[in-house]
Amino acid sequence: MASFVPTSADTLEDQRLYTRARLTEVACLDCLATVGVKKNSEHHTSIQWTAEARAHCPELSRRANGRDSHYACPRMIASIEAAVREDRIPIGAEDGY
């Protein structure tokens, strides 16, 4: 059962837009991880991992649960930057999402 319950169906559509819309799949150039990426601007990046992708990433797996597990995987960042250079990720937001 959901906990914080919306009172309008439009809210569910907002939830979908902000969390799932416009994600582009980017495969890591070094491991088997594939993530969903969105770039609303040059400096903005949104990265959605799955449990499967996370398990593939040796860099994040190596870090266990310490404070350094918060940092992005530099290989994935490089892979995303490469995808941007190759115009595979559209840059720009659509009405804030």
Partner: protein
């Protein structure tokens, strides 16, 4: 169809979050007396027994509902002020001094306790699960030793807001400028499992006589992680006019109803080299006051705002929806936690445009301020020169 945006207030959850909740510093409960703590829509009784263990039970006696927080610690048990029923930390009634035997069903609600970093944490789960020790907040190295000052500890009452309001701060880049008077120049979030983290670098605004984050000379590098639904550790590297300090801020809360909570925070600082203990403690207290102002700025907003289930975001905003998706995991049964709630998610806010606009705004404010400051001086000068001619 109207194109007016509808504000969906949503309905708050009927339960309180699953997870570790901090009740305060262990030293606050060590006097051999029962203490009352408002939590989870009721009242808890907290006491330390002869072995030094801290125990937490529901505050009301299962016999006739006496208030155990007004009782007495007798031996290791809490004795009810009404009929002297004795309750142990394991939740069982150990003795009824006037009775032949204790009813077998005399068990009350107990809360598993762990003391970590000098703080009392209790496990709360409406499903009654065993405490999950794997997701306790981390042991903070050096804290509790001579390397750091003692914890300060403060409580702020937030009587008319759901505690999700304070969680939303994790992703709220822009409020640091408007509410806390700082420029957030770098802002990132990572959510994964039971943790939600915010990285921020900020400098104070020179146009506001800002206390807290807003002090002009204050540069912060902050890493703040929620470990579960209510307990955040914030590691802050502070550079105040070249004087560097390592500060650890605990920001935690206990929900008291579906529309109120108690916000608690504690500060300790790594004692700077060449500084005596008294001065170091003073520095810790000053930081505590600084954060107090920050939290009060937040509370003032929460007490007046509407709850929003469908926030409308712009490109410069942080990932509110993903944060709330993460937070949802603590409000559903374990079996209903979905992969999306706990999967790793990373977000870097683009702060460049926002900071350009803010720099302009601040420059304009400084210009106006300078203008205002020079005006009365001119008037005063004019007044005094006219007085001289008249005299």
């Amino acid at each position: 169809m109207s194109d007016t945006r509808y504000l969906d207030r949503g309905t708050p959850p009927e339960r309180f979050a699953r997870g570790w909740h901090c009740l305060g510093l262990a030293t606050a409960f060590g006097d051999g007396r029962p203490h009352a703590v408002e939590a989870f829509g009721g009242k808890l009784v907290v006491w330390q027994d002869s072995k030094g263990e801290i125990n937490v039970l529901d505050g009301y006696c299962r016999h006739m509902g006496g208030d155990l927080t007004q009782g007495t610690v007798k031996g290791d048990e809490i004795a009810c002020p009404f009929h002297d029923w004795r309750w142990g930390g394991d939740g069982k009634c150990k003795a009824i001094p006037y009775a032949r035997r204790v009813p077998l069903r005399a068990r009350t609600q107990k809360y598993p306790v762990v003391v970590r970093n000098g703080q009392v944490l209790i496990w709360h789960d409406v499903e009654g699960s065993a405490p999950d020790l794997d997701i306790l907040p981390p042991v903070l190295p050096g804290i509790g030793t001579d390397e750091y000052t003692d914890w300060t500890w403060e409580v702020l009452d937030v009587p008319t807001a759901h505690c999700r309001e304070i969680i939303d701060n994790v992703v709220d880049m822009a409020h640091f400028f408007y509410i806390h008077f700082a420029f957030p120049t770098n802002f990132r979030n990572v959510f994964e499992g039971h943790m939600a983290t915010q990285f921020m670098e900020s400098t104070g605004r020179p146009d506001v006589d800002g206390a807290g984050y807003g002090d002009e000379g204050l540069m912060l590098k902050s890493e703040a992680s929620y470990f579960g639904p209510s307990y955040m550790v914030n590691w802050i590297h502070v550079d105040y006019k070249g004087f560097e300090t390592e500060v650890v801020l605990i920001n935690c809360h206990v929900p008291t109803s579906d529309n109120s909570f108690k916000l608690q925070y504690g500060v300790c600082v790594k004692k700077p080299e060449g500084v005596d203990d008294a001065t170091a403690e003073y520095i810790g207290k000053r930081y505590s006051e600084t954060f107090k102002e920050g939290f009060e700025q937040d509370v003032a907003i929460w007490l007046n705002k509407a709850p929003v289930q469908n926030p409308l975001l712009c490109e410069e905003d942080g990932p509110v929806y993903q944060l709330r998706r993460w937070y949802e995991q603590f409000y559903v049964d374990r079996a209903d936690v979905t992969a999306e709630m706990t999967d790793r998610f990373e977000f870097e806010v683009d702060t460049t445009k926002a900071n350009e606009f803010w720099q302009e705004e601040v420059a304009e404010n400084l210009r106006k301020k300078a203008e205002e400051e020079s005006r009365p001086a001119d008037e005063a000068a004019a007044a005094s020169s006219s007085a001289m001619t008249n005299g």
